[in-house]
Amino acid sequence: MNDDPAALLPELLLLAGAVAGLLTGMFVPRGRQRAVAWICAAALAAALAVTVTATGGAAFGSYAPDALTQAARAVVAGGTLLVIALVAAEARGHRREAEAYVLVMLAALGSVLLAGAGDLLVLVPAYLLASIPAYALAGFGKDAPGTEAALKYYLMGAFLGVLMLAGVTLLYGLAGATGYRAAGAALALAPGAAAACAVVLLLAGLLFKAGGVPAHFWVPDVAEGAPVAVAAFVTTVPKIGALAALLRVADELGPGGWDVIVAIVAAATMTLGNLAAFHQDDVRRLLAYSTISQAGYVLVPVAVAQHTALARPAVLFYLAAYAVTNVGAFAVVAATGRGTLDGYRGLGRAAPGLGLALVVCLLGFAGIPPAAVFVAKVLVFAAAWDGGYAWLAVLVLVNTVASLYYYLRWVAVVFRGDPPAAPPPGLARAVACVAAVASLALGVGGGVLLGRAA
């Protein structure tokens, strides 16, 4: 074991940002709590910079700052940076403004730890750290829908978290070790039924964070009930950590039969998410179902991770592409403040920049080039095909085509009808535009990025 704390600098920066933000928030008056946002943003930017320039650090026994963690750190830091701006736009002047930033930072830290955990005993606290601040955030508004959403979110998370704990206990009992690799080696010799139960129970917790079927029920309710910025956060950042963690479990724990059950889960997730989004008129629920289906696409390479080297770049690139696109779409909702599809009628003429950003994000979700998700989908498709799961690749294609329906339905509304009063320009609009540009830049520069990652 070679313990070099510098290898954990990004995590430490996130923690320091959260703590400094909390202390500052305690002592500055309500009108000036915006300073906390700056502190958190600076911490995130520093974490991002450290991650991008790092050359790879020492490996810990239970925490692995490897390429996968690096990518998760970068995406989480970048995505959270955008979210902080969204929160700042929405919580301005709120009585507990500083708390919102701090909770976001802590949940982001939990998400990074999820991705980096190489030991079941690190995974569990990471799960709790990523979840508990998010419950509080969901109910941040203290209004009826928010409280209901928070409660459902919490009950679901607590239930599945207990299942996961049971799974971890069972795994430890079977394998006698909690490190992924050691447990994986021992698990191959364990009794089949017990091992299967342990793996599925472990999967339950991670799927809850990833928003995958059948642990997806919280997603639409939270997206609809929680404040928009919080919805953007909980449907984006924890997913990154959870999906990266799933990829690591596939790689290092590598339980037998993993590909089959994750393929089933992936197929169910993308199909169910897509179907439920049809004819959905509430944009936040629509986006929620869309995030479920997107999680399904990312689960495809997770399923075939043991069979193809293409899986890792596919997952990581998809997460980056998904993060910017999803935050961008929610930012548009935050900027317009309109909850139904009808409210977007004529947006393209009233606020061309915002309309364009929305169109870029939606077409990006649908996988239209040159947006980033297109490249990501190509990678997913290639990984599925290469991994011997042709039917899953075809299903990805069918689902992508089907998803065009509801994305284009929204796009069409944007360009039709008389323009309503333009929403006032603000931070949320800027976030939407930045995210849209980032999506295009990632899509165009995708080849270069992958060349470096490979």
Partner: protein, 656 residues
């Protein structure tokens, strides 16, 4: 140094995109910013010409072949020459535009698009593979559309822009074909590798590239779009007609000259296309009554010489002609732009005495026109001869020589029209032409005159080496003397008829009669190419589409019904007449046929329609079903999740 390679096109491209997006908010700073960016670009181009940077990347990392498709930017000698030319001309044109564009115009959009356009051209001339080349090529096409239609409130201008866009796009399809063929044959998109591709890919790629280049360069039969392209502001014409757009096609052909030579037929076809264009469009230019139209037709004709050079294997000569022509033509268009701004007319008759109004402009125009005429010792005289020296066949040479004489004639016509003594009328609404706009003219005029130094034997040897054309013949003394004398004679004659001869002399009358003739009218209408394209391609396609739609509605749909009715009727007749077994057979056949007809009637459309409706309805129902588990009650969520995970565990136990 690889950064320099991509900075060269990216600097004007990104700056242009930002300016264009900023729109009217950037109006005040647009001109100064654009000129500054172009100056930086020129410096980058000069630096790139000195250090020859290369930059490579990989496209679509997961695609075949393993490791992805290499793509990149490479500045070799030919690219260096092109890049410097493009940047220099763009700088001159933008300085002019800064003074010439009306103050109320959307400057942010204009200068942004001009920069974007320049960046796209720079990308086109530095790309080492078809992917990047296509990128630049397409952006250039789109930007030219927006620039030609810059005054979009006037309907005709947008129509012209659309015509230009559709025509060049039609040609561009060839480039996609070429890219596909190159990829199929060699597995890469590198330009240099196409000449070694196997058959039939090599020939198909060559055909595609030739089609695209002829379209972009407004060679026959695509020439008409350039006539419409005059609808843009003068600065746009000056840039479009000199170092960019039309030059891009000529550049591409010069770049792939080894490929053309390898196929054999492509080189010959290209050479003839260029020579015939030079001749016919030269005649068209001579017949024009509008200065910008005359210059536009002459652009086609002069680019014809470059295309001829690519076909004849005279890469050094063709490139020299391209560079010199860029200087000459931008100069002439800028002069025409000055007069258009001052007087509001481009008609040759209305420009009488324009040359004497502001001497610096008149003299600059005279230098350009004399160079265009091929009068010694100006630039195009030498470069045209460098092209002619490489022409192998006598027939081709004769056509090209005749085209050269026509060039002298139309240049003399333009020169005489503006220098003919007369008082330059001062229109009531004349807008003051700032002195600053003559600056670029004075910078371009020495270039237009002095690029003839390329023809000095020592210089030409270096030039050949620069563009990588080793053993090509240079301009020959005999040819130089002959063409120089002939061009001078024709120009002098034109000058004598146009300026010196008094009104009413026999020569003037004869010229005027010629101008009224049917031939001249045909030529003035650009050989009817536009009408030909509209009548011969566009209208038939439209009519065919309409006819097919009607056929579908009226015939296909009803045939089935008629068939069924007919068969049933026949069965009825047969059934009445026949008895017994025969009756049964006929009835059976009729029934079968009727069934078949019923199937045929609905075979194509109705089941498809039903299928589509069924899919839509099914998807909607599935969507409702998919939302059903989302009951909104937490205990149901938990129960469902638990059940599903239990199911998963059972599956996992079974597959392990």
């Amino acid at each position: 140094m690889s950064a320099l390679a991509w900075l060269l096109p990216a600097t004007p491209g990104v700056a242009g995109a930002l300016l264009a997006l900023a729109g009217r908010r950037a109006d005040r700073v647009a001109a100064a910013g654009a000129v500054a960016v172009t100056a930086v670009t020129l410096a980058l181009a000069a630096l790139a010409a000195a250090v020859r940077p290369m930059w490579g990347t990989t496209l679509v990392a997961v695609a075949a072949p393993p490791g992805g498709t290499p793509a990149g930017i490479a500045v070799d000698g030919l690219s260096a020459v092109m890049a410097v030319t493009v940047a220099a001309i763009a700088l001159a044109v933008l300085v002019f535009a800064a003074g010439d564009l009306p103050s109320g115009a959307a400057r942010g959009r204009f200068f942004g698009l001009m920069l974007l356009f320049t960046g796209a051209m720079l990308l086109t001339v530095t790309a080492a593979d078809l992917m990047l080349l296509l990128t630049g090529w397409e952006i250039m096409g789109a930007a030219s559309y927006a620039l030609i239609g810059f005054w979009w409130r006037e309907h005709g201008r947008v129509r012209s822009a659309g015509l230009a866009f559709v025509t060049t796009r039609a040609g561009d399809l060839g480039l996609y074909v070429a890219a596909g063929c190159a990829f199929a044959a060699t597995g890469t998109l590198e330009l240099a590798g196409i000449a070694q591709a196997g058959q039939p890919w090599r020939d198909l790629a060559a055909a595609g590239i030739v089609l695209a280049a002829l379209g972009k360069s407004a060679q026959l039969p695509f020439s008409y779009w350039l006539s419409g392209a005059m609808a843009g502001p003068s600065a746009v014409s000056a840039l479009l007609h000199s170092a960019t757009m039309v030059a891009a096609g000529a550049y591409l052909l010069l770049r792939v000259q080894p490929l053309l030579a390898a196929t054999g037929w492509a080189a010959v076809a290209v050479a003839w296309a260029g020579a015939v264009t030079a001749l016919l469009l030269g005649a068209v230019a001579l017949a024009q009554r509008d200065l910008k139209q005359l210059l536009a037709a002459s652009t086609c004709a002069q680019v014809g010489f470059m295309v001829l050079a690519a076909g004849a294997g005279a890469v050094a000569g063709g490139t020299a002609h391209l560079v010199a022509h860029a200087a000459v033509k931008s100069l002439l268009f800028l002069c025409a732009g000055v007069w258009l701004t001052a007087l509001g007319t481009e008609a040759l008759a209305g420009l009488r005495g324009a040359g004497r109004w502001r001497r610096s402009v008149g003299v600059a125009f005279a230098v350009g026109a004399l160079a265009l005429a091929g009068v010694p010792p100006l630039s195009l005289w030498v470069t045209k001869d460098a092209v002619l020296a490489g022409v192998p066949s006598p027939g081709l040479y004769a056509v090209a020589l005749a085209a050269a004489l026509l060039a002298a004639a139309y240049a003399a016509r333009a020169l005489a029209a503006v220098w003919r003594p007369g008082t330059f009328p001062t229109a009531a609404g004349e807008r003051r032409v700032p002195r600053a706009v003559t600056g670029p003219l004075l910078a371009l005029a020495p270039l237009a005159a002095g690029l003839s130094v390329l023809g000095l034997p020592a210089v030409y040897a270096g030039w050949r080496q620069l563009v990588g054309a080793g053993g090509e013949p240079g301009p020959e003394v005999a040819g130089l003397v002959v063409t120089g004398l002939a061009a001078s004679a024709v120009t002098a004659a034109g000058w004598a008829i146009g300026v010196r001869a008094r009104q009413g002399t026999a020569w003037r009358r004869r010229a005027a009669e010629l101008g009224q003739g049917r031939l001249a009218v045909g030529l003035r209408g650009w050989l009817g190419l536009r009408q030909g394209a509209i009548g011969g391609v566009w209208e038939p396609v439209k009519a065919l589409a309409g006819a097919l739609a009607r056929f579908d509605d009226r015939v296909l749909e009803r045939t089935g019904e008629w068939l069924a009715d007919g068969v049933t009727a026949a069965a009825g007749v047969a059934g009445r007449r026949a008895e017994g077994l025969l009756d049964g057979v006929v009835r059976g056949a009729a029934g079968a046929l009727g069934g078949a007809a019923w199937l045929g009637r609905g075979r194509v459309e109705r089941p498809l329609e039903h299928l589509v409706r069924a899919v839509a309805a099914g998807a909607g129902a599935l969507g409702r079903a998919a939302r059903r588990p989302q009951a909104g009650q937490a205990h149901l969520y938990l129960a469902q999740a638990a059940a599903a995970f239990l199911l998963l565990a059972v599956v996992l136990m079974l597959v392990r």
